[in-house]
């Protein structure tokens, strides 16, 4: 069975996000003054093939995020899993 996983990784709350700040400033100077609280993180897509169920997949994704994909010191992550066949 194949599971499609979408992972969003972003900086934790009070961690400085210079990139987000620069892009927010950029948008504002382009005239989008109504934009605020912009933050930039990572977006990952991947497929996992397994005989096991969704719970097991979620467990694996959590483990992968903790070990490699996210930097738990400064980032937090969330994900979404769906079956693709």
């Amino acid at each position: 069975m194949k599971w499609k996983t979408k992972i969003e990784i972003k900086l934790k709350e009070s961690i400085l996000d210079p990139q987000g700040q620069a892009v927010e400033d950029g948008l504002q100077s382009l005239g989008y003054q109504n934009v605020s609280k912009l933050s930039i993180g990572k977006y990952l897509e991947l497929e996992i093939e397994t005989e096991q169920g969704k719970d097991a997949v979620a467990e694996q994704v959590t483990e992968m995020c903790e070990r490699l994909l996210a930097n738990p010191v400064i980032e937090e992550y969330s994900f979404d899993i769906s079956e693709v066949g």
Binding site: L11, S14, I15, L16, D17, P18, D25, V73, I74
Partner: protein, 738 residues
């Protein structure tokens, strides 16, 4: 109740006695905010309370010293109304927790120290220590630290031109990341971190303040434990883009001539910068916290005072010049907010919405911190270590005398292998001054518009310092100077990054005292005063303290760009000469570690007077134009030094070692100090001999550079150059890219 009180000061990292001292100085109990202020300012990181008495012994004077220790960075004169500001700083604990950002903000911090002095940063160096490279976590730290240094330095547009990386088990749980910055200035632009002149405004410029790194200074003054990862302060994230703007704006501001003082906000942020500036100027500062530009909502005054948000400065312009400051910073899109004023009463007075929330004498915070003479005792391990019988070990191990294999193995060991994997990630050339890129003994930069240059290096052998801190300290300075001399420069002055374990441990404190003593002796003899530096204690993990690692950052002056010399052999037919002499010294060597698995023994001795004469010989010969290449003979000994010089142009060598009483192993791989390998054309042999004679040092003609790609030393070593080079070049990439 009593119990509660206890936790209050302990939470701020203070002892009961220190708390009593604070009460005595204020004549009352400090409130919560005030106690926090004392906590960070009296931390080791800010107050140097455990090291001050030792550091006082360093020689700090010299005819070129324009600014010694005490300011953000030292300054030395290089003639033509020009001066160099330079300093090294550690960022070990932040890098252990978040290696990329820890290293990046380390680079950002030291660069700020340099441009607050009024100098334009023109070069960065870094000195790194990690555990053994075969460990995955070590690889991760190494990769991220290098990426962090690159990420920050490349972006801000300052070339990273040199440094060192060393690997040893002692650094496994506590890597070292020391960053050095070097700036160029005109004498007239020297700025200082002083607040004075009643009524002058106090302004915060640069980035907005967030909750980053609150209590980072206290954190740096503690050992790393498994819980460190949990209760660490919010990690600081570097913004090199912001700092580039801050750099340009600050230099423009200094040039404008309206400044009284300027100070970087590093560890302990606003409280440290304001009390230090006021302390230096014998003044006070009154500031209103609600005026501090904040990045996050709902920050308390306590948090604003202690925040370690990066890329900020505290500046005091002359009264009436606020608008000009604002205008300069606005050009770069930066904040410049008046948050208070200089007062005459010597108090740091903190207000929040008009209400006084803290009121403490600036001097009590910045200058009158307690000073301790810690107990010291010679470590027990030294007795054990000296017992090593090296000859017996060698006889028992047949591989130890297979010289071909030994050399190949040494060349592929992480400490000796090429560091290209590291420095190729650094922009080494931006600003267009780098004449000698990383890979030679010292980096060389030209000074635009002049026919002179600078030679820069960092050096320290932690293993030597572990086995004999005093001699290790001497050697660190001597080796740095030798690297400068080999590049054609005259050693001018040093900055030191003193990395040690917990100073409360008498054995660690002994290492500290001894190393400092050795550094002092060498600095005196080599006439390279200490202009500043950094102390990093508490470099320990559950497995124990790191090797004592006093890193020496040295600046040398190249009088004439004609003198610039590199370590690589230039032409077939050139004669290879050894300045200095080789002794039976195998203790503490790379050979012993890599081939026999021991980090023990008596380390090489050093006679500083002889060292100086060897350096004088080399420099005189270079200045007279007799020298085509010069290379310091250090880790790995003669065989490794010769090998390193063959790689660039792929020219071979044929060496005939002179008869001597020394073992062949020591001839080839011993690490006797005060040795330099130079090459010259045949007709200059006598000229060099004369210089060596005059300086009363030994000189030996070892052999000849040959066109074939062969590496031949007597009947002992015969190797194909390409094979050697492959070992040396591929070792680190092979570990890192697999």
């Amino acid at each position: 109740m009593a119990h509660n009180q206890e936790t209050v000061w302990e939470k701020e990292g203070l002892t009961a006695e220190e708390y009593q001292m604070i009460v005595a100085r204020l004549g009352r109990k400090p409130n919560y905010t005030e106690l926090g202020m004392f906590g960070v300012m009296w931390s080791e990181h800010c107050s140097y309370k455990n090291s001050k008495l030792i550091l006082k012994k360093f020689p700090t004077e010299g005819k070129r010293v324009l600014q010694g220790p005490g300011e953000n960075a030292g300054i030395i004169d290089i003639g033509d109304n020009q001066a160099i500001s330079f300093k090294i700083e550690s960022h070990n604990h932040p890098s252990a927790i978040e290696p990329y950002q820890g290293a990046a903000t380390g680079v950002g911090g030291i660069i700020r120290d340099i441009f607050t002095m009024g100098a334009r940063p023109i070069a960065s160096l870094n000195s790194l220590r990690f555990g053994n490279l075969n460990n995955n976590h070590v690889k991760y730290l190494f990769k991220e630290v290098v990426a962090g240094i690159a990420g920050y330095g490349n972006s801000i547009g300052i070339p990273t031109v040199g440094g060192e990386v060393n690997f040893a088990a002692a650094y496994q749980g506590n890597p070292l990341v020391n960053a050095m910055s070097v700036g160029l200035m005109e004498h007239d632009d020297i700025a200082t971190g002083t607040a004075s002149g009643k009524g002058n405004p106090v302004m915060v410029v640069g980035a907005a303040t967030g909750r980053d790194g609150i209590q980072g200074a206290s954190f740096a003054s503690d050992e790393l434990t498994d819980e460190s990862a949990e209760d660490r302060p919010a990690v600081q994230v570097g913004d090199p883009f912001m700092e580039k703007l801050l750099l340009e704006a600050s230099l423009e501001l200094i040039k404008s001539g309206v400044l009284v003082g300027i100070q970087d906000m590093g560890a302990a942020g606003l409280i440290s910068s304001s009390s230090e500036m006021a302390g230096r100027g014998g003044a006070g500062i009154e500031m209103e916290m609600s005026k501090v530009p904040c990045r996050e909502e709902g920050m308390t005054p306590y948090e604003m005072l202690l925040s370690e948000s990066q890329e900020r400065m505290l500046v005091v312009p002359r009264k009436g010049k606020e608008k000009l400051v604002e205008k300069i910073f606005a050009k770069y899109g930066l904040h410049a907010a008046v948050i208070g004023k200089v007062t005459a009463d010597g108090m740091i007075r903190v207000l929040h919405d008009g209400e006084i929330i803290a009121e403490v004498p600036a001097k009590a915070l910045a200058d009158d911190a307690p000073v301790y003479q810690r107990d010291s005792s010679r470590p027990a391990y030294l007795t054990e270590i000296e017992k090593l019988d090296i000859n017996k070990l060698i006889e028992a191990n047949p591989a130890a005398k297979n010289y071909n294999q030994v050399l190949l193995k040494l060349l592929a060991s992480a400490n000796i292998a090429s560091k290209k994997w590291v420095y190729e990630q650094y922009d080494q050339q931006v600003q267009n001054n780098t004449l000698v890129l990383p890979g030679s003994d010292a980096a060389v930069l030209r000074i635009k518009g002049k026919n002179k240059g600078l030679a820069l290096t960092t050096d320290c052998n932690g293993r030597y310092c572990y086995l004999n801190p005093k001699v290790g300290g001497r050697i660190a300075v001597a080796e740095a100077a030798r690297n400068i001399v080999c590049s054609g420069g005259e050693p001018l002055a040093i900055t030191d990054g003193l990395n040690f374990g917990n100073p409360m441990d008498p054995e660690v404190f002994w290492q500290f005292e001894e190393a400092a003593q050795g550094i002092s002796e060498a600095c005196l003899e080599l006439e390279t005063p200490v202009t500043g530096g950094n102390v990093s204690f508490y470099n320990e993990s559950p497995d124990g303290a790191i090797y004592p690692t006093p890193i020496i950052g040295m600046v040398g002056l190249i009088r004439d760009l004609q003198d610039v010399t590199t370590h690589d052999f230039k032409d077939a037919g050139d004669q290879i000469i050894l300045l200095g002499e080789t002794k039976e010294e195998l203790g503490g060597t790379e050979y012993l570690k890599e081939i026999l698995g021991e980090e023990k023994g008596s380390i090489p001795e050093i006679n500083l007077k002889y060292e100086k004469r060897v350096q004088q010989t080399c420099l005189t010969a270079i200045r007279k134009g007799f020298v085509k290449s010069a290379h310091d003979c250090s880790e790995g000994g003669l065989a490794v030094a010769l090998a390193e010089s063959t790689f660039r142009k792929e020219l071979g060598i044929k060496i005939n070692l002179p008869d001597s009483d020394i073992s062949k192993v020591a001839e080839l791989f011993g690490e006797t100090q005060s040795r330099i390998i130079i090459t010259t054309e045949k007709e200059n042999l006598d000229n060099i001999q004369n210089i060596a004679c005059k300086n009363e040092i030994a000189m030996t003609v070892l052999g000849t550079v040959i066109p074939e790609k062969l590496f031949i030393i007597d009947g002992l070593i015969k190797l194909d150059l390409e094979e050697m080079k492959k070992q040396w070049q591929n070792a680190i990439p092979a570990e890192m890219e697999s």
